[in-house]
């Protein structure tokens, strides 16, 4: 009798423990992500043969001075397209395709893998770095969303190859950005594709009054880089270049990080530097400071093996060594198999990005997913993840409830506030089908209309040239005892990037104090701002200004 009772107690405890150990349910707001690509007027399909199994990105940026982000979308074998944002603040999303005339052969807009916005020449118009199979494009932006091919003028040979990743930074003393370009398989190498990853490249601007990318520095060995990101991992003020590599094709490869010091030859972090071997199907890097430590954490997408890396408190010292620990499991962010739909084969994850989708003041993680093509060992129906940050430091899956869990082959993604209502929206590029455009309507409210979510701020930094958009700056937003950090970056994800308003959720805070560490390392004084405003911080001015949409 006593034994049976004991067993029942043990079983009860075990059951309770299992319940406690199960996936956490989101406790805060779940955003309603309403898919409205067709109604918004966006039709773009990323497709094509093997070369376009990967990639599938785009760029979101303000190309007409309206403050609303427009989008440039890769099409693979299909031509890339530009859609100008015609939405009204707080309203449904509306885009209008603008035919691209880049002053060159229109075929150059085919075979596009992805794109990143960056104002290379500092003229106030966003330019585009366009990743291609073949040669890459530098498209100089002009007024009214016009673009002109500028490879020749800027002495850029296109760095031919199969380009699958890109990142950029402004090194000290340089007028123009340093460009890092990551390649995939060298299809012409003997034995291709196995063990034939093409080496990567670094282009530092040459002296002069206009961009000059005539000198290439190899980043070798290359291990089929699907994502790159300049990151100040140790708060030294000198960003390093993280590279996430696809183990499918390399031999003896691993994840990489390059030491990129001004005027010096790039050098890989090695075992002697503390760098640890990690081999994954690396597809996308995302950076975010989820614990408020000031040191970034990294989400690395892969196939059934996503990583969330945090500096190892025991072995990294005070960020003296780049030793990372995978905390994905302990915080519920493994996202390794589909969470709905019944397919329990491993997931294939592509784009990842930290952002606050419910304005709780906590970072969430969006992960786009989709089978490579027809890989039988991996989930065929592979819903994208919306992992909502929780107050206990964990993440809770809300993709299904939010509405992003459709049957799509997701690739790159653009996370931006497309209708400037303070809530982040998602444009997901899909392989073989139209893009998905999810408008964030607000918090799920049973069967009722969505509710407004937490407070927010959206920030734009301005400083004198060079680097007028302050790429590399860190923004610290303090509310109460908490400080949230955002970094202005060009790179990462899956061949997708955005520029413009930097969104920070504020939860219940009505006010925030913002400090900026400008790219040269200088900290600003504190800017006091009220919630639910678009804030422009101009380094030359003592006070922040507010900005208001014109429509």
């Amino acid at each position: 009798m006593r034994t049976v009772l004991g067993l029942l107690i043990v079983l009860a405890v075990f059951a309770a423990a299992r319940a406690a150990d199960g996936p956490q349910k989101p406790l805060g707001d779940v955003p309603v992500m309403h898919e409205e690509a067709e109604a918004a007027g966006i039709h773009s399909v990323y497709d094509g043969p093997w070369e376009f199994f990967v990639g599938g990105g785009g760029a979101a940026f303000d190309c007409d001075g309206s403050g609303f982000p427009s989008v440039f979308l890769a099409g693979g074998k299909n031509p890339a397209k530009l859609f100008v944002n015609r939405s009204k603040a707080g309203g449904p999303l509306r885009f209008e395709e603008k035919p691209l005339d880049i002053g060159a052969d229109p075929k150059l807009l085919q075979n596009v893998i992805g794109a990143y916005p960056i104002d290379i020449d500092g003229d106030g118009h966003m330019d585009l770095f366009v990743l291609r199979v073949g040669g890459n494009l530098l498209l100089k932006g002009g007024p009214d969303c016009g673009f002109t091919l500028t490879n020749k003028e800027w002495n850029f040979d296109g760095d031919p190859g199969w380009t699958t990743s890109f990142a950029a930074e402004w090194e000290p003393g340089q007028k123009f950005p340093t460009l890092a370009i990551g390649h995939y398989v060298d299809r012409n190498a003997p034995g291709s594709p196995w063990g034939t990853c093409q080496e990567n490249s670094l282009y530092r601007p040459q002296p002069g009054d206009r961009p000059d990318y005539s000198v290439r520095t190899p980043l070798a060995p290359g291990f089929c880089a699907l994502s790159m990101l300049f990151t100040d991992w140790n708060k030294s003020g000198v960003p390093s270049l993280r590279v996430s590599n696809d183990r499918q094709y390399y031999r003896g490869g691993e994840e990489q990080m390059w030491r990129i010091e001004p005027g010096k030859t790039p050098r890989l972090y090695t075992r002697a530097d503390g760098w640890r071997h990690l081999s994954i199907f690396g597809m996308g890097i995302a950076e975010g400071d989820i614990d408020g430590s000031g040191y970034p954490e990294y989400f690395l997408t892969s196939m059934g093996d996503e990583k969330l890396q945090k500096l190892d408190p025991d072995e990294a010292g005070r960020a003296e060594l780049p030793v990372y620990r995978d905390i994905a499991a302990e915080v519920g962010a493994t996202a390794h198999i589909p969470y709905t739909g019944g397919d329990k084969r491993p997931s294939t994850a592509w784009h990842a990005e930290f952002a606050d989708f419910n304005n709780a003041g906590l970072l969430d993680i969006f992960v786009s997913k989709g089978n490579l093509e027809q890989m039988p060992d991996f989930a065929a129906r592979d819903p994208s993840n919306l992992l909502l940050g929780q107050w206990n430091g964990k993440f809770a899956e809300a993709g299904d409830e939010a509405g992003v869990a459709g049957d799509r082959k997701g690739r790159g993604a653009l996370i931006a506030d497309f209708n400037l209502d303070g809530c982040l929206d998602i444009l997901q590029i899909n392989r073989g089908s139209d893009v998905s455009l999810f408008r964030n309507l607000g918090a799920k409210n049973g069967d009722g209309p969505p509710l407004p979510m937490g407070n927010w701020t959206e920030i734009r930094l301005v400083e004198p040239n060079p680097n007028r958009n302050a790429v590399g700056a860190k923004i610290s937003v303090k509310t109460g005892t908490r400080a949230q950090t955002r970094t202005v970056q060009v790179g990462g994800g899956d061949a997708s990037g955005h520029a413009g308003w930097i969104h920070v959720g504020l939860g219940t805070a009505e006010r925030a104090e913002i400090r900026v560490q400008w790219p040269d390392g200088e900290w600003s004084a504190s800017y006091r701002v009220f919630a639910n405003q678009f804030v422009v911080i101009d380094r030359a001015k003592p006070q922040a200004a507010y900005w208001y949409p014109g429509r």
Binding site: L451, G507, T508, Y548
Partner: protein, 492 residues
Amino acid sequence: MVRDKEKPTIRRLTGDVGDMKRGLGVSIALSVVAGVLVAGAASGGSWDERVFGSHVDFDAVASAGPAALTALIERGRELFKAKFTTADGAGRPKATQAIIPTKRKSGINPPFSRTSGPDSNSCFGCHNDPIEGGSGDDIANVFVSEGFESAQFDNIDPSFSSERHTIALMGAGLVELLAREMTADLQAIRAEAVAHARVTGEPCRADLVTKGIRFGWIEAHPDGMVDLDSVDGVDADLIVRPFSRKGVFTSLRQFTINALNVHHGMEAVERFGVRWTGSHDFAESGVPDAITPGDVSALVAFQAALPPPTVKADLPADWRAAASEGAKQFQAIGCVSCHVETLPLKSLVFTDPAPYDMAGTLRASEAKALIRIDLSTFPFARTLQKNDKGEWLIPLYSDLKRHLVVDETVNALGNELQAQRFVERDVFLTPRLWGVGSTAPYGHNGAFRMLDEVIVAHGGDARFSRDAYLALDPEQRDSIVAFLRSLVIEAP
């Protein structure tokens, strides 16, 4: 949202109201409020110490319309006077007084702390002079700290906190309505300037003037940028915040939620609940979801419906004459440049939730329906004058604007060392002088026993009036005191 424990409170509530009011309308109200106060399982005896035998259901009240108002206000009065108990969730062992939910770094709060709070068992504990909802004596002063880092500060050094005298809440609904209309005006001016600049391609300067009060100016640029450097006396988001000494709270609802937490350790679900903290009991008081949105609404309704102060009716002849002269002098020496006699109000319809609150205070867009309190139906409305536009003239003697009240030589009011919510230490909202005759001591921390003393302490923006006051002969100065002392709070 609604959590209830017992029936006796419902009976007690309805019985109290029944004692006050009679008639069919009241019967309807009682039946409605009985419908929104749902009994729970736990039951105490009729001597139960707890305040919350039941909670108000916001949605039910809002949908019930005017029929529920009388009882809602009465429930608010009960809560205003209630002494919250541990069983109600009073105290915040693991949370600070901060308005953003903030955990203590370590240790636990004692049940009461005169400095960081909880410092009062009830709203009435401070707001009781001369009647409920009024001001308080110096003993009821509170110590304001942002409370993010220093939850356990244990002294009243101004380095750590700012001492504040209790503000009377009479006429608070009218005050909030004025602020709402002013906010709407200012934000409309901004929107118009932004639109004009975009259309013309030229910068557009716009004066921020509402109800005759000037809040500086802005300059909108064609690209949508707005320069805020010359905004004066109001926050940069152009929301007029009429509550607190510094003018930093937007609405009675926001003020109520803040005060419940700071002073009583009673935490409202809409700020401290699971939606924003991941916990039903953020303060670890042992009572989950202690204050529902409906409870907050009851307190808001009670405060919003408080009649405004009045002019003392039974003045002796000498006082009446002196007060009449004093009113003229008050105007002549420029006191009215800030202590504006009346502000015009277009509508007396008070809605809850308020239109300009942000997340953490229930927003109008979060409610299925609003609670609507038409203050024009209250007896006090008959005492209000109207202007030729049909607007109600609210005699609050304030411009609802912040001013610098300190200068190099007159700085007795500049005795704080901390800014509060972006408002510098020597800048304060123009106090409303209606009822000032009933709310001694004076000044933001009640440091002045006599009206003459606080008038003489005015510096900064008020220096010219203060100097003019000193230039008057003693009888004229005394007449101003007579005038101010005639502005009183009296039981209706």
